[in-house]
Symmetry: C2
Subunit: 504 residues, 2 copies
């Protein structure tokens, strides 16, 4: 599917026909997906069915037309892949925003695009329930149509689907931020073409994703506090590590230990590489439990749960059981970048809340639906630190960084270094722009990292009980671009803005 | 002087005799240095002359005895060098603290050690003027003896002297955090022994340091607001990028545009590699002005001055001239990690203050007296980012990171990656410990980075008009260890705590 060598063709450097054709196909699929919330609108007899119809039908017609007119005839090449991936999330948000405005739910198209990008990027930051910078009161979450709530959760779930295949099948080939580690492992070949394998891989991974969503749906549905609608929405949001809820108060709105535990467990699972879930389900328990990244992820989760719960118990004077319940939920929610809430961590005493703040710079494992920096990168740079100390003592020795039996090449370390640097630069620029709009440090830094890391809730004026409605419109565009850049592992989007992308 | 290969000896792996012997020599030198504030005490007829005498004489006797008993007979080896360097700053602080307590100025020995480590590490954070956690009112800066003020400034200046030689002559040989870049350049050889050269280098660099201190002293002295004593103290503090002042209100206490400009210029110069100053003074203007790190440092200084001054002018509604005056001073003070203040940046609106907060993660050039991450590391990782983008587009190409004509090897990139990771881990741990003591986010993060980066003033409860008196004693030990770790480029200290240091 991807011809990295770009040999033997008379085609232009970037074949926009193939880009438009594939984007057409994806637009058709988006229109098709909008039929699901349309169905929900019909079930609940909501007038917003028209908004979905008037978005879905044109999207399907336009998408199908473009696909057939520019029917892809050649192998997809690298530059085209970057353009398609980036434009998919942007276009998906621009189109998927229409039901919010057409139904009259939101007045501002910017707010609608923010909400949709927040959905598709699995961020879960919302503009619902607050007053915009020009004084418009956006409706509360529980006051909008169920079909629109469903569309929010579904957008998470579709975004998660896209990300799983992207990170496990496409990005390894594109050499993004260390993801080439997975090249041989998951794409099944080190050759440059993977047409048959990418489709097979996608199908297997999606089966796991759909199956796990189904299991969580059932586990939530059996609880009396949740009807089928709430159960499916939260299952979508959990597996995608998204964080949109159907309650104004997020998961706290159900106030059930059982629901908290189910969601905690499934957030944790959603933070794990879906290729590893597939292996586990295929009976290959060894691969799963000996996977260094999964171990490290589990270790960090347990460590932070102990520290945060301990802080809540001893410093914040929570009951022991409550400390564990709220501590574990919030730790798993942030480390996996889900962003569901059962407690307002911004009100915790400094120790527990600062620990959670540190987790804003983590992220689940690669190949999960979690955003952020991700465990594999953190693990590898920590291993490099250990190597560095040994190297100082033994300057003549050749000491590679190892992950299990595997030696991590210098080129991958440089990739990861590049990723970290770009991540913190974008974070800093995002926070600086927010500070230019007058937001204090914690609000500015929080909004930037919560968007870039696809977490959702942040700090200061954007705490877990607040929303983003009041951000000036230009700021909303900045934040939604951060969501997209973060979700697509930075380089996929940013490389398009380099001169080398457009010339040889 | 250093036998990296450690061949052909029957000596123990770590020869503590040589460690004790050299530390004895340095203790003698410290005692000798204490005669200078003793002289100041006599000039001003202060009773604290006794405190200096009772510290200086035992230090000289003990130091000289140890030096002669354990007279170094062998070449210094790597492990011994790490121990000596780390213990020099620790021992210097433990001994140099006595005049503060013996004179009755400070009741707490911890506070005295904090103040001395803050001096020797060129940090400039103070516990003077505040109330300790157990309710003791420490005297204000302007209320203590001039001899003790002189000792504070002198400790900066001595620390700066040590750092210049350490970073330009010793650390390159020890392979610390990318400093081996300077191996061939400044130590004059790539061989493992450098006995003659290290002394020659040190003498030349110190001549420049002394000369520049003298010039600044004269420029400050000619101003009517400064007497000779204030001029020499501020010259010491500036050249060392230290930040201790003789005024409660720091440099703002003089309220003179002339003094602000002189100190701004000399802080900037003190943030530049002293080997480059030597070259410039030797007539080699080309090396100086074409040096990539100096250019990058200048560029960042100008960029942030424009942005911060612009913010002060347009958002904080300063007069244009005031915006430039206070903006440039504070930017140069923080980017060089000096920490002098002429304005309370914590009261600025978010944009200008957030820009300054970003500079807390910078630092001057390597080989200057500035602390922090330093320009060379930032420049190299930014170059690696550019390479990374090009590499994605041209996956088959071999693209090295270049600095001028020089290719930066992968090993140096890994060193620098290691440095960054350790820097942020230590920063996070420091902030977490402060948060455990109940400090809010900005106070915790500020105190940690201001100590680790040897800046001094921070944020929240530790803003430029506040002090560190109220920090619980255990917290003061944590912060002073951060100062030492940061000042000695992290690895020099931390490597001692690894198992590889103590076994083969
Ligand atoms: K999320
Ligand atoms: K300083």
């Amino acid at each position: 599917m991807i011809d990295l060598l770009e040999q033997g063709t008379n085609r232009p450097r970037i074949d926009f026909k193939i880009v438009i054709g594939i984007l057409g196909g994806l637009t058709f699929f988006l229109g098709l997906s909008l039929l699901a919330p349309l169905g929900v609108a019909l079930i609940y007899n909501e007038s917003s069915w028209q908004a979905f119809l008037f978005t879905a039908v044109p999207a399907m017609i336009l998408g199908a037309s473009l696909f057939y007119i520019f029917k892809p005839q050649y192998e997809l090449r690298m530059r085209e892949a970057f353009l398609i991936v980036s434009l998919t999330w942007l276009l998906g948000s621009l189109i998927g925003a229409f039901p919010f405005t057409l139904s009259g739910t939101l007045h501002s198209y910017t707010d609608a695009v923010f909400e949709t990008m927040s959905g598709l990027s699995t961020t879960g930051a919302t503009i619902l329930g607050g007053v915009t910078s020009d004084g418009i009161q956006n409706p509360a979450i529980e006051d909008i149509d169920k079909s629109l709530l469903f569309w929010r959760s579904l957008s998470h779930w579709l975004g998660g689907m896209g990300i799983i295949v992207l990170t496990l099948a496409l990005l390894p080939l594109l050499g993004i931020g260390g993801m080439q580690l997975y090249k041989a492992e998951y794409s099944g070949s080190t050759s440059d073409k993977l047409t048959p394998r990418i489709q097979e891989t996608a199908f297997l991974l999606w089966s796991v994703y759909v199956g796990m969503t189904g299991v969580q749906f059932l586990l939530l549905w059996v609880h009396p506090s949740m009807d089928w609608f709430e159960a499916i929405n939260h299952a979508f949001s959990t597996l995608a590590t998204g964080g949109f809820s159907t309650k104004n108060g997020s998961v706290a709105g159900f106030d059930s230990v059982y629901i908290d535990v189910v969601i905690t467990v499934f957030m944790f699972l959603a933070g794990i590489n879906f290729a590893m879930h597939f292996r586990l389900l295929s009976g290959d328990t060894k691969s799963f439990f000996e996977n260094r990244e999964i171990r490290f992820f589990s270790l960090l989760t347990v460590l932070f749960t102990v520290l945060v719960s301990g802080g809540l118990w001893l410093i914040d004077n929570y009951e022991f059981g409550d400390a564990l319940r709220y501590g574990s939920f919030q730790v798993v929610s942030i480390i996996t970048t889900t962003g569901f809430g059962t407690d307002d961590y911004a009100l915790w005493m400094p120790f527990a809340s600062f620990l959670l703040f540190l987790l804003f710079f983590s992220g689940g494992t690669a190949g999960s639906t979690g955003g952020g920096i991700k465990m594999i990168r953190i693990l590898i740079i920590l291993k490099n630190v250990v190597r560095e100390f040994r190297q100082i003592i033994h300057p003549q020795a050749v000491l590679p960084v190892r992950l299990g039996n595997r030696i991590i090449e210098s080129s991958i370390l440089k990739n990861i270094l590049g990723f970290f640097v770009v991540y913190f630069i974008i974070f800093g620029i995002g926070a600086l722009i927010m500070s230019l709009m007058g937001y204090d440090f914690m609000s500015s830094m929080g909004a930037s990292i919560a968007s870039l890391g696809n977490i959702g809730p942040a700090w200061g004026e954007f705490g877990p009980t607040d929303e983003y409605a009041g951000v000036p419109y230009i700021g909303k565009w900045v934040l939604l671009m951060l969501m997209m850049i973060g979700r697509l592992e930075l380089f996929t989007v940013l490389v398009i803005f380099t001169p080398w992308f457009w010339k040889n």
